[in-house]
Amino acid sequence: MYSKEVERILLKVQKPGRYVGGELNSVIKDKKDIDVRFAFCFPDVYEVGMSHLGMKILYSQFNTVPYIWCERVFAPWIDMEELMIERNIPLYGLESGDPITDFDFIGFTLQYELSYTNVLNMLKLAKIPIKSKDRPELKNIVVAGGPCACNPEPLAEFIDIFFIGEGEEVDLEVIELYRKFRAENKSKKEFLIAASQIQGVYVPALYNVEYNNDGTIKSFTPEEGAPAKITKRLMMNLDEVFYPDNFVVPTIEIIHDRAVEEIFRGCIRGCRFCQAGFLYRPVREKSVATIDKQCRELCKNTGYDEVSLSSLSSSDYSRVVELLTQLNKWSNEEKVSISLPSLRVDGFTDDIMSKIKTVRKSGLTFAPEAGSQRLRNVINKNVFEDELLQTCDTAFGGGWSKVKLYFMIGLPTETLDDVAEIAALGQKVVDTYYRNPNKQKGRAVSVTVSASSFVPKPFTPFQWEPQDTIPQLHEKQQHLKKSITTKKITYNYHEADTSFLEAVFARGDRKLCKVMEIACQNGFHFDGWDDCFSLDAWMKLFEQCGIDTAFYANRRRSFDELLPWDHIDYGVTKEFLISECKKAYEAATTPNCRQKCSNCGVGKWKGGICVEKRQSMV
């Protein structure tokens, strides 16, 4: 429950419902029974954070432990932030309303690089020193996990502990260790050293980095017995892993307001630009029976009338038709609709189409990512033009008339001709509509072509690639715009500026900590929001700190360079990534994990798809 001081400002801000808690299924505990308090911080606004599945899982799981009370904290939007600063109100937990300084753990989930300034800003609003070394006591331990923790270096001076990989087990092991060490009056240093021995824990303060004259890394040395390689944690049996039977149900509208059921982790595909596709290997599926049971529980305990079956590529679930058939047995009667996001072009069959209704509302979305077949081979996006057109044809015949196509520009080896082919592909989709005899009478087709800018990410085969410069990206955007000649196609593109900053952070090293620190002092926040982001302001800051951004974003790195994240191990070997990168230059594709194992390295854990029998593929 928020304080009286907060109550007095709530009617002065937009959407006060963001700041009050009290939602159905939010967890209130008696402080007397609690040993460890965990502030789960999402470095973005409530509506974004509450839509995030990982937070829901860990919130529920932590709160099933009787001695832990986990609360939610979101970044206050700028109007609220201003009033909180003006009235000296520190950042607080939504459940208790207590200031964050009262918490043992302050945990951040790092979903996108542009939220880094919000991480630091939230610490500042909580009146907690942002640098790890300025928090000498065994309390307010700042931890972070999530996909961006795969290159933790730009935040190395601020975070005490990074969790590498999936959090379900390792988080609790660290909490338990903390509880024990606190009871024994041990120091924070002793705690961190002991924690570093747990698999999946990275304590950046225990590593010393030296640089070469050209700014690249010379050596990376562990101290105090910390491991030289930090290996990710992962859960092998998803039928046994904890999954919440309820979600906190927001009263204000959020981005994804529905029940979400995770159906598998990982992705069989291996698209070469996709970080998640490599970080979460191998594919591990939940059984149909588990998914069915969990979906029913979630609907019962939340009242949602929509369940979204979530994964990186839901139509790749091996028994998708069986699953939908099972869910339809009760969902129709209970007035619950099932949605299948992230559909692949080849996953949209008549059978699936008849079993999911909700797609109709929003239109169909596909991500060919590149316009030409050559470039799709480069990125290993095994989607073919005739498949895409065939699928669109099926959909048009089934009553759809809206299609959204997602592309990336600035991909390695891309030429202006490849860019023009994006427009050509859009045109072919339009033509397919007009050729279809069964299309909705009297309705015009609407094709949206969205182009984002490619950002090279760690742990992908493109981790060595330069990003196109902003002027290069602008040129390609304009070229695409010129190449579209029909009004039936709507063209959207993302600002190249934010992709550039993302590229700097994504492959940054510890030298960026200084910039982060000053950014925080200067009040930078919400870089992911147009309202706040300013590339000019960032460029001034980089200059002031003597940082050459091109070194991080636009430089081709050599295969033998020691990369800032080379001490982190997600199972996929560097040799595999190098061979994938070389294959990309030859426009050669790699079969997906279900067709054939390509020995990426993850097989050493002997689980998931790596040990499944493969049927001979058609």
């Binding site: 429950m1 419902g17 808690g21 159905l24 009242g303 009338d305």
Partner: protein, 219 residues
């Protein structure tokens, strides 16, 4: 099929649920409570519910109501109450479920309770200023509506009032026009203090009751 009226309180954290969000939440809650109620027909069927009188964001309400058609004629209304209470967010409690006696169109007035306090002036002074305000011949205020900004005389709209000095705050009970014809927001009293006396008061506003044209409680 039976027309029922669900009576609930909306306070605490629920004060910050807007009317639009309340409607959305109630649809989900009814679905969750598995109440046999009448759904709209058509492409996207949903439970058909209506609210007697929307409540402004930030106000508490002690006699809020929502109407729907219950398909099961035998169902005990206490059970309707219990099932809903299990599904509601913090701050909303259903305290009664009844027949629909009056039509919502008859709502004409509402009784509000305001508690005012201020950092810059003490309660005694605030109390004097409030009394002064209510004693003015006219209190012309800008009122925002869909049609734009319009001047209203708050004074002539105040049907009945009572002001008390309660040491730490000033207590005002006031009846104002409410309903589909005219609505006067009690927040205008707070705004008037700012306009005429430059006092920025903190306020808590509760809608205590809702009345028909004869100032009888809406039932």
């Amino acid at each position: 099929m039976r027309n029922v009226r669900v009576w609930f309180k909306k306070e605490g954290t629920a004060k910050y649920i807007s009317h639009l969000d309340l409607n959305r939440n109630m649809l989900r809650i009814i679905h969750m409570a598995k109440l046999p109620i009448w759904y709209t027909e058509g492409f996207n069927p949903h439970p058909f519910i209506t609210f007697a009188l929307p409540l402004s964001l930030g106000f508490s309400g002690l006699r809020e109501s929502m109407d729907f058609k219950l398909l099961d004629d035998e169902m005990d209304l206490n059970e309707v109450k219990d099932r809903l209470n299990k599904c509601l967010p913090g701050g909303i409690t259903v305290y009664d479920v009844t027949e629909q006696v009056m039509k919502p169109a008859r709502i004409t007035y509402a009784l509000f309770n305001l508690k005012l306090s201020c950092d810059t002036v003490n309660t005694d002074e605030l109390y004097e200023k409030v009394r002064e305000l209510f004693a003015m011949d006219e209190i012309m205020m800008d009122k925002k509506s869909k049609a734009g900004i319009k001047e209203v005389d708050l004074k002539e709209n105040i049907c009945k009032f009572d002001i008390k000095n309660c040491e730490s705050y000033v207590n005002i009970d006031v009846i104002l026009p409410a309903g589909s014809m005219t609505n006067v927001n009690p927040k205008l009293i707070v705004d008037a203090l700012k306009k005429f006396f430059d006092i920025e008061a903190d306020f808590e506003i509760v809608r205590v009751d809702i009345y028909n044209e004869n100032v009888e409680s809406f039932v």
